[in-house]
């Protein structure tokens, strides 16, 4: 089939993406080249068809799942200004409705919610069980039970085993597939506990610890969800992640802290 060196520029020409000199040269060329003129016509049709395509929108449920998932990892707190704007528009919605009955109903609902929240706060402040605090000096506001501490310590020890195993893995394809499967099981087990651990960590308000746990969770997801045939690739990637994010060093740092806290507690 006959071709012309200018034809590759035609899509850019249609999108008006060419620099002025290239565009001028192409236009001069088009006056004499039948091949390119015919091609331009064909491509213009496709260009128009593609441009007229409307994307199908995602379902509401899928969108909700998607956002919730992302929010779980990256909360992205609202700025004070946007909080103010949101409450302002909400307030307008509630109290400037057109129907009087609707306004009354909304006001009543608001009072009920207020009473409920007030009661909840009052009761929980009176009845909340005393939580034994440990390592308060190290982390102000630290409040965690010895059982939680043990669980976290256990998590850090197992994580270290897994991290070391991956770091020391030599990348042999065949011989160590049993080891990889075993490590995958450890990762799945750790992943099961990671939600609980994260919950404990949020009580400590320690951003380094939360950040470490998030990175750790991503690593665990990388290994746990992969098909057995793809384990080799996943472990290679995991090894890279460990190196890049200093996970082992962070693990040691937190492990030391929790071991000390646990010992002090005894």
């Amino acid at each position: 089939m006959k071709s012309c060196k200018f034809e590759k520029l035609l899509p850019d020409y249609l999108q008006d993406e060419l620099a002025s000199e290239a565009k001028r040269q192409l236009e001069v060329h088009l006056e004499t080249c039948e091949h390119c003129t015919a091609k331009l016509g064909e491509l213009a049709d496709i260009h128009q068809i593609l441009s007229s395509r409307q994307r199908q929108e995602p379902g509401k449920e899928l969108m909700r799942d998607y956002r919730n998932y992302l929010r779980k990892y990256f909360p992205g707190k609202l700025s004070p200004v946007s909080i103010l704007k949101r409450s302002e528009s909400w307030w307008n919605d509630v109290f400037h409705s057109q129907h009087f009955t609707l306004r009354i109903a909304k006001a009543v609902a608001l009072i009920i919610v207020g009473v409920f929240i007030g009661k909840f706060i009052f009761v929980s402040s009176v009845q909340a069980p005393r939580i034994e605090t440990v390592a308060r000096a190290r982390m102000p506001g630290y409040a965690i039970t010895p059982a939680d501490l043990k669980l976290m310590n256990d998590y850090f020890v197992k994580s270290e085993i897994l991290l070391l195993a991956i770091e020391n893995w030599q990348g042999d394809t065949g011989a160590d597939s049993t080891d990889l499967l075993f490590d995958k099981k450890i990762a799945q087990n750790l992943l099961l506990h990671s939600q609980v651990i994260r919950h404990q960590a949020t009580q400590l308000y320690d951003s380094d610890l939360i950040s470490f746990l998030n990175r750790m969770e991503l690593l665990l997801l990388e290994i746990s969800n992969v098909d057995n045939e793809e384990l080799f690739t996943a472990f290679k990637e995991a090894k890279k992640i460990i190196k890049e994010t200093d996970l082992l060093q962070f693990n040691k740092q937190f492990q030391n802290l929790f071991v000390k806290s646990e010992l002090n507690n005894i």
Binding site: P11, H47, I49, S51, R55, Y66, R71, S207, S211, L218
Partner: protein, 191 residues
């Protein structure tokens, strides 16, 4: 890149997840759409877009401010999409005959629904389906180049950054893609 985005990226690089959360909020819809355009369904697109943000957070230290953050995100997504498709082995299996004959007359492979399009007005849904079908027959790189150009208004230079290739290669991908699509959508006259 505007200043606030730059500041958010700096904070996120220092491990501030809230700052990264704001970037996620800004780009999550765009990423879902490009993932959908590449994968062809929203379930896979959702997984891909989610993984893109997680991966981007881990790899954020590698992001250099001389590129646009959105372009870098596209690049992360593109690389993950390649991995995902490789895992799924989604590429249609080619028959021995096709492999031997190479540039086989494509018309023989075009499904009837695409071959015999009515000349009259085709509604948007049907058109969308046909375009998706035509896109499915392109190579992954051709599809990516077309999608980024036509549905995400990226220039050849930006597409080249996303795909990690030369601008001239992008031009060739797009040219070949449109030429192939012409064979699939040839019967349909726009307007």
């Amino acid at each position: 890149m505007n200043e606030s985005e730059e500041r958010l990226i700096q904070k996120a690089k220092a491990g501030d997840k809230d700052a990264f959360g704001k970037l996620v909020k800004k780009y999550h819809q765009k990423m879902l759409y490009v993932a959908y355009d590449l994968m062809g369904n929203y379930e896979d697109a959702k997984d891909l877009a989610q993984e893109t943000f997680l991966r981007a957070f881990i790899k954020l230290s590698q992001f250099q401010e001389r590129a646009q953050f959105s372009t870098w995100l596209y690049r992360v997504l593109y690389n993950l999409a390649i991995d995902t498709l490789r895992r799924k082995k989604r590429t249609p299996v080619r028959s021995l005959e096709e492999i031997i004959t190479g540039d086989l007359d494509r018309k023989s492979k075009i499904p009837d629904s695409v071959m015999y399009l009515p000349n009259e007005r085709v509604d948007q849904e049907e058109l969308g389906r046909q375009i998706n079908e035509a896109l499915d027959h392109l190579t992954f790189n051709q599809r990516t180049a077309v999608i980024l150009r036509y549905y995400h208004q990226k220039s050849s230079k930006e597409i080249a950054e996303v795909m990690g290739c030369a601008e001239s290669t992008v031009r060739i991908h797009i040219f070949r893609a449109l030429a192939h699509m012409k064979k699939y959508l040839g019967e349909y006259k726009p307007g």
